[in-house]
């Protein structure tokens, strides 16, 4: 089922959580709402679910499969909601938790006891906890609890699955496993899903589409590749991973930054304007000697060699910190140690001109 959000604004007292947000989610997609805390992503999710009511406005619409559900109560929207802290019913066993949504249906639409049992077992199998149906939530690990919460949300056969930072409370290793599992699950059942997260890695890895939010608005949306490789703004680029920042100025089709110059065909309108150069750590090269290219001279402060790549921290011009990420092979060709002088030059760059972006 597709979801459309039209002109949604939400204020809590003086605080605006959402400002005229519009969002289209096609049927069967897994969309991630990504943003720092306070950007409004959870509020948007709760409004889609019906747990929160948007500010009154005749233009506001929330469409499920082209039908306006804004007036419908949360229970009538057929949404499965997974909460960050699981929100499992503590006095019920895993089995009862999952079965609960079915058991409380009015008699007319309630499945038979046998059907409910079959459905719960099917879900227990899906979440790979077949033998733990009799346990209580407090006897499970965080990852297991979150899977139970997911099964509980899926039990009512929702049209839409909404996940509010589902892996936020779990440790890194479990989170990675669950992330992959969620993606597999989505490929299997193809339910329209919205995932709220502040973890950019999670969003980029799991989602079909990423919606980056900032200060109650949507900053950019697109496929993970689009937003990662073609960020619409400095904020998006910075939020999606570490960046090195250089300040400079646009001058006659070039942007000049502390010894670096980058072609920048922005037209004369941008001439003289302040510009920022953003380079990801893996897009920087490190040389022992200046090699004729534009480069920045810096002092190596630290080298991290543990891990899949070598991370070098440097102290650049004006005491600015620089981060360079190299493959082990590349590093072996020109090894540096703390205290060495090195030259940093970018392979790929993005220039953001003040009040202007390319």
């Amino acid at each position: 089922m597709s979801i459309q959000v039209r002109h949604v604004t939400k204020t809590f007292g003086q605080y605006a959580a959402l400002k005229d947000v519009n969002l289209d989610i096609p049927d069967g997609e897994l969309v991630a709402l990504l943003g720092p805390s306070g950007s409004g992503k959870t509020t948007l999710l709760r409004i889609i679910a019906g747990l929160e009511v948007p500010d009154a406005n005749p233009e506001t619409q929330i469409l499920f499969h082209d039908q306006d559900v804004a007036a419908r109560a949360v229970g009538d929207r057929r949404v499965g909601f997974v909460f960050q802290h699981y929100a499992l019913f503590r006095h019920m066993s895993v089995f009862d938790n999952i079965a609960f949504g079915l058991r409380v249906r009015p008699r007319a639409s309630r499945p038979s006891k046998g059907d409910i049992r079959a459905r719960v077992h099917e879900l227990l199998k899906l979440i790979q906890l077949e033998n733990l149906g009799d346990r209580y939530p407090s006897e499970l690990s965080g990852g297991q609890r979150q899977r139970v919460a997911l099964a509980r949300a899926l039990a009512i056969e929702p049209k839409v699955l909404l996940l509010d930072e589902p892996f936020g409370a779990l440790d890194a290793k479990v989170r990675q496993g669950l992330r992959r599992w969620l993606r597999d699950l989505h490929d299997k059942i193809h339910i329209t899903s919205v995932l709220v997260t502040h973890d950019q890695e999670e969003a980029l890895e799991v989602a079909d589409r990423v919606v980056v939010m900032r200060q109650a608005r949507i900053e950019q949306q697109g496929t993970p590749e689009e937003v990662f490789h073609h960020p619409a703004s400095e904020f998006v680029m910075d939020f999606l991973g570490h960046v090195n920042l250089f300040h400079g100025r646009v001058d006659a089709g070039r942007a000049v930054f502390d010894g670096l110059a980058v072609d920048h065909a922005a037209g004369d309108a941008a001439n003289g304007k302040a510009a920022k150069l953003l380079v990801r750590p893996h897009e920087l090269e490190l040389f022992r000697e200046p090699n004729g290219n534009h480069s920045v001279k810096a002092t190596v402060t630290r080298v991290h060699r543990a891990g899949p790549s070598v991370k070098v921290e440097l102290n650049g011009p004006e005491g600015r910190e620089l981060f360079v990420e190299l493959t082990h092979e590349r590093f072996a060709q020109a090894p540096v140690a703390a205290g060495d002088t090195a030259y940093v030059s970018p392979r790929a760059t993005r220039v953001f001109v003040q009040d202007f972006s390319i």
């Binding site: 679910a49 109560a73 949360v74 229970g75 009538d76 909601f81 909460f83 929100a87 409380v104 509980r152």
Partner: protein
């Protein structure tokens, strides 16, 4: 009115604390009595934090009295130091705000209770309307479960309390009646006090402390844990499925407990009557039957039902009002107990007075 300038000289430091105060005194006195005063620091050699504190104290005094006192030619380093101080960044104000005077807190308490009362009436009305509309989430099983927890669970402790209260009343009554040679009337005293007043009241307090707090804490935890939201996403109304069963169960449980307390209180009285007071069990029992009319029991039951409503609705209300962190759970629990005991006493007084005049 012209400004009077006061020139300060020399260092304003910890070493010159008294001199600084003496130097500031005339400026403050002028501001108080004559008119605007200006303290000039142009000729001051050094100002340390102690000196600064003294100046600030004088400024605050003047401001508190609505007088004009200004400081001019403040040295750059002092200004820089002051600009570093944004107390909001590093220090938090006390959460409770300024401490209220005794009378003020009395008034606050009164209004808080009155507001509670209004909200409480609103909830009772809402619950009644919901009940009449036959809510679909309300299940008999949930009510029975709660009756077991609230009612059956309280039986041992309540039996003991009821028995002991009967013993106490018997002794208290005998203490006064024995001089009149009217020991037999201990039975009247025990029977009537238990049925009309003490059983409902003691049961009410016990249930408020035992179950009211538990209900408030449970609902508050569910709210914080988003379990109530989880219910709503499954098309279950938390009011019908979580709050109503507890309210109904409490209303069922309290009168039953009161009846039990009545029986055990009378038994307690019997033990004292037969033992220290040397009455026969038969005459005690006959006297109980003479003294107690059905109305006495019914008034007690009316109170019991009222207390049940008060305890459960206040507990549900305080629990579901919680927002934010788990620290509020404790506050909600306390508020539920205090508030329900207060309103029980108010209702008790009303019922008692009405029946004193009515019958």
């Amino acid at each position: 009115m012209a400004e009077q300038r006061f020139q300060l000289r020399g260092p304003l430091t910890a070493a010159t604390i008294r001199a600084t105060r003496d130097a500031l005194a005339p400026a403050l006195a002028h501001a108080r009595t004559a008119g605007p005063a200006v303290v000039d620091l142009a000729q001051v050699a050094a100002v340390d934090d102690i000196g600064l504190a003294q100046i600030m104290a004088a400024l605050l005094d003047a401001r508190a009295e609505g007088k004009t006192l200004r400081v001019e030619n403040v040295p750059q380093d002092v200004l820089r130091r002051l600009s570093l101080l944004d107390p909001k960044d590093v220090m938090a104000a006390p959460q409770a705000g300024p401490r209220a005077g005794a009378l003020e807190s009395l008034g606050d308490g009164f209004f808080a209770r009155t507001r509670d009362g209004a909200e409480f009436l609103g909830i009772v009305v809402e619950l009644v309307i919901r009940l009449v509309m036959r809510p679909k989430g309300l299940r008999l099983k949930a009510i029975v479960e709660q009756v077991m927890i609230i009612g059956v669970g309280a039986i041992p402790i309540l039996s003991l309390i009821g028995f002991l209260i009967g013993v106490i009343i018997a002794f208290q009554a005998a203490y006064q009646l024995r001089d009149l040679g009217a020991n037999l009337y201990v039975a009247n005293m025990v029977g009537l006090s238990m049925a009309r007043e003490l059983s409902p009241f003691v049961t009410g307090i016990l249930v408020a402390g035992r179950s009211g707090s538990a209900i408030a804490a449970e609902i508050a935890t569910m709210k914080i844990n988003l379990e109530l939201d989880a219910l709503r996403t499954m098309a279950i109304d938390p009011t019908s499925s979580v709050l109503l069963p507890r309210v109904i169960a409490t209303i069922i449980a309290v009168p039953i407990l009161v009846a039990l307390a009545n029986v055990l209180g009378i038994l307690g009285g019997l033990v004292i009557a037969v033992g220290p007071l040397s009455l026969s069990a038969g005459s005690y029992w006959d006297q109980i039957l003479i003294a107690m009319r059905p109305n006495d029991i019914l008034i007690g039951m009316l109170k019991a039902v009222t207390f049940g409503i008060v305890i459960a609705t206040i507990a549900c209300h305080k629990g579901s009002q919680v927002s934010g962190g788990s620290r509020e759970v404790a506050a909600a629990t306390t508020a539920a107990v205090v508030s329900s005991i207060f309103w029980m006493i108010v209702c008790d007084a009303i019922v008692t007075m009405v029946f004193f005049f009515v019958g």
